[in-house]
C-alpha cells in the first residue's frame, strides 16, 4: 500500500450516470458509479466491452458527445471539478489508438510543443528544450532524431510514447489511460507499461487505467475496480483481487483467463451475454448469469459496501459480503 493512502482524494466521483439517446431508447452506459482516486495512486477500471469504463473516463474529461446526458458529482482536490480548466493541466488523457489520436500532418515537435505554447506560454527555444525533455521522460531514446518525424514514420510504440509526452506537457496530476496498450504488440506493451509505472513512481502521477486486460492491469494498478453493466461490482487491492476474487462476476471472469503457465482445466465460460445498455435487468444486473443468484437478487440493487472481514475491499453482493477475503 502506498504511503499516500490517508491523504485527501485527488478525484472523487459520486453517483455518476451517463446516458446516451439511441434509436432503441435511452442507453445507460454508466449507472450510479462512485469512486475516488488518491494522489499518486494507480487505479484500474476493468470490464468487458460496453460496461461503461470508457464512458466514465470521457465523463471525467468532459469529452462525451452532445447526445450524452451526464449526472453525478465530480470533485477535484475537494472542490467541484471543472474539466475544462483541469484538462491539460491537472488532468490528461491518452487513448487506445495513437495512430488516430495524433495529427498525421504535424511533426512530433509541433504536436508536443502545442500544449506548451498554449498552456505554459513557452517560447520557441524553451518549448524545443521542453519537448526533448518530455520525449526522454516518455522513454524515447535520442529524442532529437524524432523531432521532425511525422506519425506515419513512427512505430506503434513510439507513437504511444509521443502521446504520453504530450499528456505530460502540462505536468498533470492524474493521467487517464484508455486501453493504452491494446493496439500494441505484446513485447512493446510491456515497455509502455513499465514507462507508465515509472512515471507514477517518479512524478507521483495518479493513473486511472481503463482496460479489459487483467494482465495489463496487474502490471500497473494498486487497486482495481471491476465494472459490470455500468456499476462497480468489486473494488480491491490489485493482487488480492486476482488471488481471491469475491464477487461472482469477478470470479467467473478470472476463471475465463487462459494461463500460459499451467495446465489448468479449460475455463468455464460465463453463460449468456452482458445486458444491453438499453435493457438492464432489474435488481443486480448480473443475476441472469450468476450461479449464486437467489430470488432476492431480482429485486434488490446491491450497494457497493466494505466486506465484513476486510474493510479495504468493497463488493456489491450481499451473498458474498461475509466471506473471508
Amino acid at each position: 500500500m502506498s504511503p499516500t493512502t490517508h491523504r485527501q482524494p485527488l478525484l472523487e466521483i459520486e453517483d455518476l450516470t451517463v446516458q446516451f439517446a439511441t434509436a432503441d431508447g435511452p442507453a445507460r452506459a454508466v449507472d450510479g458509479l462512485s469512486l475516488s482516486i488518491k494522489p499518486g495512486e494507480a487505479l484500474a477500471l476493468v470490464g468487458e466491452s460496453g460496461c461503461g469504463k470508457t464512458a466514465t473516463a470521457l465523463a471525467i474529461m468532459d469529452l462525451l458527445p452532445a447526445h450524452a446526458t451526464v449526472s453525478g458529482t465530480l470533485r477535484w482536490d475537494g472542490a467541484a471539478l471543472d474539466p475544462r480548466r483541469q484538462r491539460g493541466q491537472g488532468l490528461a488523457m491518452i487513448f487506445q489508438e495513437p495512430a488516430t489520436a495524433l495529427n498525421p500532418v504535424l511533426s512530433v515537435q509541433t504536436q508536443v510543443a502545442e500544449p506548451l505554447k498554449v498552456h505554459r506560454r513557452l517560447g520557441r527555444l524553451a518549448a524545443r528544450q521542453e519537448v526533448l525533455r518530455l520525449l526522454d521522460l516518455a522513454g524515447l531514446p535520442q529524442p532529437e532524431t524524432l523531432l521532425g518525424a511525422f506519425p506515419h514514420q513512427l512505430s506503434g510504440g513510439q507513437r504511444q510514447r509521443v502521446m504520453i509526452a504530450m499528456a505530460l506537457a502540462c505536468q498533470p496530476r492524474l493521467l487517464l489511460a484508455d486501453e493504452p496498450t491494446t493496439a500494441l504488440d505484446a513485447s512493446v506493451r510491456a515497455g509502455i507499461l513499465d514507462t507508465l509505472a515509472r512515471l507514477q513512481r517518479e512524478l507521483g502521477l495518479a493513473i486511472l487505467l481503463v482496460s479489459h486486460d487483467l494482465g495489463v492491469v496487474q502490471r500497473i494498478a494498486d487497486r482495481v475496480a471491476v465494472i459490470y453493466a455500468g456499476r462497480i461490482v468489486e473494488l480491491a487491492p490489485c493482487q488480492r483481487l486476482l488471488e481471491a476474487p469475491v464477487h461472482p462476476y469477478t470470479r467467473a471472469l478470472l476463471a475465463c483467463l487462459p494461463d500460459p503457465f499451467s495446465d489448468t482445466p479449460p475455463a468455464e465460460p460465463i453463460p449468456g451475454q452482458p445486458p444491453r445498455a438499453t435493457a438492464r435487468p432489474t435488481g443486480c444486473a448480473f443475476h441472469p448469469r450468476c450461479p449464486m443468484a437467489e430470488p432476492a437478487c431480482l429485486r434488490l440493487e446491491p450497494a457497493l459496501e466494505p466486506m465484513a472481514r476486510a474493510p479495504h475491499r468493497l463488493v456489491a453482493c450481499p451473498l458474498v459480503h461475509g466471506e473471508p477475503a
Binding site: D185, A186, L242, C256, L257, P258, F261, P266
Partner: protein, 270 residues
C-alpha cells in the same frame, strides 16, 4: 504421432518484393516466410506463435493459397496444394477453411447470415435451394446460434456472435482443417472463453484439425497439442506444447513467454 498427417508443409517460402512508394518512400523486399516445415495430424491442433511481423499470418495465408507461396510444398490429404492452379484447387477448398481475427471486417455487412453462410455452399455446388437453408440452419445450430439468426445481418450481432457466424460459414463446408488467424483477439475475455470452448467441442465432435495462429500464449496452451514459434519468417522452435512452455530452448520463445502479460493467479492454500 502415429495418426495420418492431414497437412504437411515443406520448405515454404514467401518473399514480398521491394516497393517504391509514390513519394519516394517504399520498403525493401521482405522474406516473410522462410523454409517453414509444418505437419498437422488429422484432428489435432498446431499453434503458430510469434510477434506481429514474424510471418505467422502470411504462412497461414500461404497454406490457404490466399497468398501465393514462392517455393515449397503444401500437402493436404496427400495432394500438393502449392503445385495446383486455382481452378484445380477449387474443388478441394471445402476441405480447408479459414476463420479470421476481426468479425467486423470478415463478414459482408450487406448480406444476411443465410447468404453469408450459404454462399460458399452454392459456389461449390454442395447444395441448392432449400437444401442450402437446411445446411445453414444446421451450421448455425452447431455454433450455438438461434435459427432466426438466418434472416439478420451482421450488424444485429455482438462480436462473439459474429465470430460464431464466421465459424459456421467455415463449418458448413465440412472441412477437415480450419486455419484460425487470431480468432479470439478481438473478443472480450468471457466471449473468448466461449469461442475457445466451441472450438474445442467441434474438434472433439468432428475431428477437426486447427492451424491456430495466435500471439496469446495462454490461449495456445489451452488449445494446441503442438506449438511452432516463428521469428523473422522462420520457425525457431517447434515442440509439444507443455514441454515447449516449461522448458523453452530458443531465445525468442523465452522472450515471448516473458513478455506475456498474464496475471499470476497463485492458488490459495487454505
Amino acid at each position: 504421432m502415429t495418426a495420418a498427417l492431414l497437412l504437411e508443409v515443406r520448405g515454404l517460402y514467401k518473399r514480398f518484393p521491394a516497393q517504391r512508394g509514390l513519394l519516394g518512400g517504399g520498403r525493401p523486399a521482405v522474406d516473410a516466410v522462410v523454409d517453414v516445415d509444418l505437419t498437422i495430424p488429422a484432428g489435432s491442433t498446431l499453434a503458430l506463435v510469434g510477434e506481429s511481423g514474424s510471418g505467422k499470418s502470411t504462412a497461414g495465408l500461404c497454406v490457404l493459397r490466399l497468398v501465393e507461396p514462392d517455393a515449397g510444398s503444401i500437402k493436404f490429404e496427400g495432394r500438393d496444394l502449392a503445385a495446383m492452379g486455382q481452378a484445380a484447387l477449387r474443388p478441394l477448398r471445402p476441405g480447408f477453411q479459414a476463420v479470421f481475427q476481426d468479425p467486423w471486417a470478415s463478414l459482408n455487412p450487406r448480406l444476411t447470415v443465410r447468404d453469408l453462410v450459404g454462399e460458399a455452399l452454392e459456389v461449390h455446388g454442395l447444395a441448392q435451394g432449400s437444401a442450402v437453408d437446411d445446411r445453414v440452419a444446421a451450421a448455425l445450430k452447431d455454433v450455438g446460434l438461434p435459427g432466426d439468426a438466418m434472416t439478420r445481418r451482421p450488424s444485429a450481432f455482438s462480436g462473439g456472435e459474429r465470430q460464431r457466424i464466421a465459424i459456421a460459414r467455415a463449418l458448413a463446408l465440412e472441412p477437415r482443417l480450419l486455419v484460425c488467424d487470431e480468432p479470439t483477439s478481438a473478443l472480450d475475455l468471457s466471449v473468448q472463453a466461449q469461442v475457445l470452448a466451441l472450438l474445442r467441442q467441434l474438434q472433439q465432435e468432428r475431428g477437426l484439425a486447427y492451424l491456430f495462429i495466435s500471439h496469446d500464449l495462454g490461449v495456445v496452451r489451452q488449445l494446441a497439442q503442438q506449438v511452432a514459434v516463428m521469428d523473422a519468417g522462420r520457425i525457431v522452435e517447434l515442440g509439444e506444447t507443455r514441454s515447449l512452455f516449461e522448458a523453452p530452448c530458443h531465445a525468442t520463445t523465452r522472450r515471448l513467454l516473458k513478455s506475456t502479460v498474464a496475471p499470476r493467479k497463485r492458488t490459495r492454500t487454505v
